[in-house]
């Protein structure tokens, strides 16, 4: 065989079988950005010698997994938002896992009743208000944002974003569909501008005086506070953080999760379980707080000092799966009120 043929064979091999390898590895489909999960994976590889390969996409990975069927190279799914985890389970794309470590590390209301998916971190949906222009004593509950007093003063991300949809679902769960829709209608009337931008952009709008109140995920506050961009640090300084629904008889702040599961046709099942166990363990649970200002799910791990500094909220204890089940109804209400 001459050199040319050898080279052609090598190229063909790389093109067609590029993902095949003999080393110990675990293949991840991730809805979380690589720059967020890489520190975890590097630590995992260091501890176990297992190489982690990642495909990151915000959308469609469940469909990819489904279409690939038995041929799928995926072992682990990592994602944010309970709605997405639920879709994987709904399409029967996740393998039920019986792991003593996972069962010990993750409380039962934060995992699938079928043991297919597991929460790995928690984040809270919080209210931020302008320090200068809003009296914080007037806002205690998420429901308060529907008061006519705030007309033209609230900024929001589009309602159909997963975080707002999940929040909407939690309001339906607490108050019923009718009441939730009434709330959403009044809330939309209070908006200062067309819903736009991500959570970061809402704080920026408060800083610039375009509006006074916004709803964000708690970790955005930390990301801004410790941003490498001094300007973004200024944005964080101009707002107060309010955990809603903290009253004695109240339900607590809405909580969403990031989580993961093992792909149904995983070829490296043991490594996949090892990775999930690692992510629920001490090192990772601390990292979630340190890197991304998220709350640990593992009850043995305390939230990071920074998070404790903001106050630890009382959490809405509704089983997280309920939020996923109400998602489609929440989207319908969002469509109807034009959020």
């Amino acid at each position: 065989m001459n050199v040319k043929n050898t080279i052609i064979l090598i190229i063909i091999n790389v093109i067609f079988f590029g993902h095949l390898s003999l080393a110990q590895e675990v293949n991840i489909y991730s809805h979380r950005q690589p720059f967020l999960i890489n520190p975890f994976l590097e630590e995992f590889t260091k501890q176990t010698g297992i190489k982690a390969n990642v495909v990151y996409s915000t959308k469609g990975l469940a469909q990819r997994l489904k279409a690939e069927g038995q041929n799928s190279p995926a072992d682990v799914i990592l994602t944010v938002d309970i709605g997405r985890l639920y879709i994987y389970e709904d399409h029967k794309l996740l393998l039920p896992i019986n792991s003593k470590i996972l069962n010990e590390n993750i409380p039962s209301h934060l995992k699938s009743p079928k043991s297919t998916w597991f929460a790995l971190s928690k984040r809270s949906r919080v209210i931020v208000t302008s320090k200068e222009r809003v009296d914080t004593s007037k806002i205690n509950r998420i429901e308060d944002l529907a008061e006519p007093e705030w007309k033209g003063r609230i900024c929001s991300r589009p309602g159909s974003h997963v975080y707002n949809r999940a929040l909407m679902a939690s309001i339906i769960a607490a108050n019923g569909e009718e009441s939730a829709e009434k709330w959403a209608k009044s809330f939309v009337k209070n908006l200062a501008r067309r819903p736009q931008g991500n959570d970061r952009a809402q704080v920026k709008a408060i800083f610039e005086g375009q509006c006074d109140i916004a709803i964000i995920n708690n970790y955005y506050f930390g990301k801004l506070k410790y941003s490498e961009d001094p300007q973004q640090q200024e944005w964080a300084k101009t707002v107060n953080l309010i955990f809603p629904n903290q009253g004695n008889d109240d339900r607590g702040a809405h909580i969403n999760i990031s989580g993961g599961g093992v792909a149904i046709h995983s070829k490296n099942k043991d490594n996949a379980i090892k990775l999930l166990e690692f992510l629920s363990g001490e090192v990772s649970q601390n990292l979630y707080g340190k890197i991304n200002f998220e709350y640990p799910v593992n009850p043995k791990i305390k939230p990071s000092a920074e998070l404790v500094g903001w106050g630890i909220p009382k959490e809405d204890q509704i089983p997280i799966i309920k939020i996923a089940e109400l998602g489609p109804l929440a989207q319908k209400i969002i469509d109807r009120v034009g959020w």
Binding site: I15, H19, Q33, F35, S57, N71, P158, E208, G209, Q210
Partner: protein, 550 residues
């Protein structure tokens, strides 16, 4: 002047033989993923349409139409206007504008949208400056067009999409025979409306069809600006309501929009075919303009270049310099290499396939074959992520079929296409086939039919005529189509994101992980690299188009 090539063709090679199987087979592969989407859409959508009709559907359709109309009108004015100016007139800076005008093609709309939001929004430097100078206190004191709006989306998309029309129109203007203009002048007719525009019409409409498809399928820009088009609606229904069936049904509504457009294009092309016997060119004789007119022309050409290229690049450059973010240069270098490689392979595949389908369908086929190949290049009309799902389903079928056979040979089979770069290449070909095909199709219509006829009379076989006469004449169109496809692939985001193999990044996906989190500064450097890498083919194309002797 207007020949009756349709009747002549009957006496040439038009026949059903092995050659015609090639475009047919390729069309099946190209259209397979689309058919898979139709199959998905035929499922039960749980009565969601009533809810959609009651609430959001009309809004989605109206916004999509307004966006398409707005962008089309703007793109026609900018693209055709500037192409006519640089190919017919001599004015200050003409040679520079001649290639500057192509540069915005290298800028992805969604990146320009990110940069412009930061610049033009209430919190941005422009409005801040206005507030300081004029003394406005808050948003209620004054009116300023909101960048995150339908108008903003029309503005951003037009600025970066007009080169599709510009490039094709310019090529066509340059190729138009001088004799036609001379005759028009003799009769004292306006050369633009009586010669230039009618001759370039197939090319312009081909370019416009591409622009419209790009508009219908855009997700990044409309998501960022929250303009609720059909595409944005697809995602709300799919991910928000966990209803892929209803989502594919909306995708098909959007698809019908584009088929309608394409139908118009085919109709208009069929009614007009031009060929010229004298191959004299006009590009040597440009008309000199007065100083004032020269200034106005330069200004007209500057506007799209400024907003489509200079300003966004400047903004990204400023952001990249400002950031103290530690850049992983080795990683970035690898990403650049991977991007160029995949875009190169993709573009070559596209021009080979679109040359084969377009040429064989035109010279060998009858109307039916032409229509089939036209329809096969409509993958462009689907939002990237939806098409990616069609491709996944399609490849799933192929893999399943293949793994059945692998059992016979007794080796462990783990996906022939799934998770390899082959699936990405397939996706690019399905999606961007229209870019190569459109360019080559409009090139074919400008080849004098009598050249091929003469070759036929002399008893030359089909393949010899094609390789010796037709292909050399199509060189510019093939290169233009290939380079547009190259740039398009490099910028492509949603399909690459979803279909790529493990640990594989292109500049677009690398940028996206930051841009998605509105970390504009971290996203700026890789974004700039997308644009710079996109410049290489643009400059090359420009140089090449000049050297060619027609």
């Amino acid at each position: 002047m207007v020949d009756s090539s349709l009747t002549i063709k009957k006496y040439t090679w038009a026949s059903f033989d092995a050659w015609t199987l090639i475009p047919l087979l390729l069309s099946v592969i190209l259209f397979g993923p689309v058919i898979c989407l139709f199959i998905t859409a035929s499922g039960n959508s749980d009565g969601l349409w009533y809810h959609l009709y009651e609430t959001v559907l009309l809004k989605y359709i109206a916004n999509t139409l307004l966006l398409m109309i707005g962008v089309s009108v703007t793109v026609l004015i900018l693209g055709v206007g500037s192409a006519w100016l640089v190919s017919r007139y001599e004015f200050s800076g003409r040679k520079l504008f001649d290639w500057l005008l192509m540069l915005p093609a290298a800028c992805p709309a969604y990146l320009v949208a990110y940069a412009y939001t930061d610049f033009f929004e209430y919190a941005g430097p422009i409005q801040k400056l206005l507030r300081t100078i004029i003394g406005w206190q808050n948003a209620q004191d004054y009116w300023f067009p909101e960048i995150r709006s339908l108008g903003g989306a029309i503005f951003v998309m037009s600025c970066v999409l007009y080169p599709y029309v510009y490039v094709l129109a310019r090529t066509s203007f340059l190729k138009s025979p001088a004799s036609f203009y001379e005759v028009a002048k003799l009769y004292n007719k306006n050369t633009f409306f009586s010669v230039g525009l009618p001759l370039a019409r197939p090319a312009i409409i081909a370019g416009l069809a591409l622009v419209c498809m790009e508009v219908v399928s855009d997700f990044g820009t409309v998501e960022f600006f929250t303009v609720e088009t059909l595409t944005l609606g697809i995602f709300n229904v799919w991910l928000g309501m966990n209803n892929l069936v209803a989502a594919s049904q909306i995708a098909i509504v959007a698809f019908i929009f584009v088929i309608a457009l394409l139908f118009i294009e085919i109709k208009s092309r069929a009614s007009r075919k031009f060929s010229d016997n004298s191959q004299r060119q006009i590009n040597e004789h440009k008309i000199h303009l007065s100083k004032f007119k020269s200034f106005i022309s330069a200004l007209f050409c500057l506007i799209p270049v400024f907003f489509g290229f200079i300003l966004p690049v400047l903004l990204l450059l400023l952001h990249s310099l400002k950031t103290s973010y530690h850049q992983d240069w080795i990683k970035l270098f690898r990403v650049v290499i991977d991007t160029l490689m995949i875009a190169g392979i993709g573009a070559i595949s596209i021009i080979v396939i679109s040359s084969l389908t377009a040429i064989i369908a035109f010279y060998k086929g009858r109307n039916l074959l032409n229509k089939i190949t036209d329809i096969a290049s409509t993958g462009y009309a689907f939002p990237g992520t939806m098409l990616a799902i069609g491709i996944l389903v399609f490849v799933g079928f192929i893999d399943k079929f293949y793994s059945l056979s692998s059992g016979v040979f007794g080796y462990q089979y783990s996906g022939f296409l799934s998770g390899t770069i082959m699936i990405l290449i397939l996706a690019y070909v399905v999606r961007f086939q229209a870019v190569g095909y459109g360019s080559i199709r409009s090139g074919i219509t400008q080849i004098p039919q009598n050249l091929a006829d003469a070759s036929y009379m002399m008893g030359k076989p089909f393949h010899e005529t094609m390789s010796k006469i037709v292909l050399p004449l199509l060189k510019t169109s093939i290169i233009a189509g290939g380079l547009l496809a190259f740039v398009d692939i490099m910028k492509e985001l949603p399909m690459t994101l979803l279909l790529r193999p493990f640990n594989f990044e292109t500049l677009a996906t690398y940028t996206y992980q930051f841009a998605h989190d509105e970390l504009i500064e971290q996203a700026s450097l890789p974004a700039l690299l997308i644009i710079i890498a996109g410049l290489i083919p643009v400059i090359f194309m420009n140089k090449y188009l000049r050297e060619i002797k027609f």
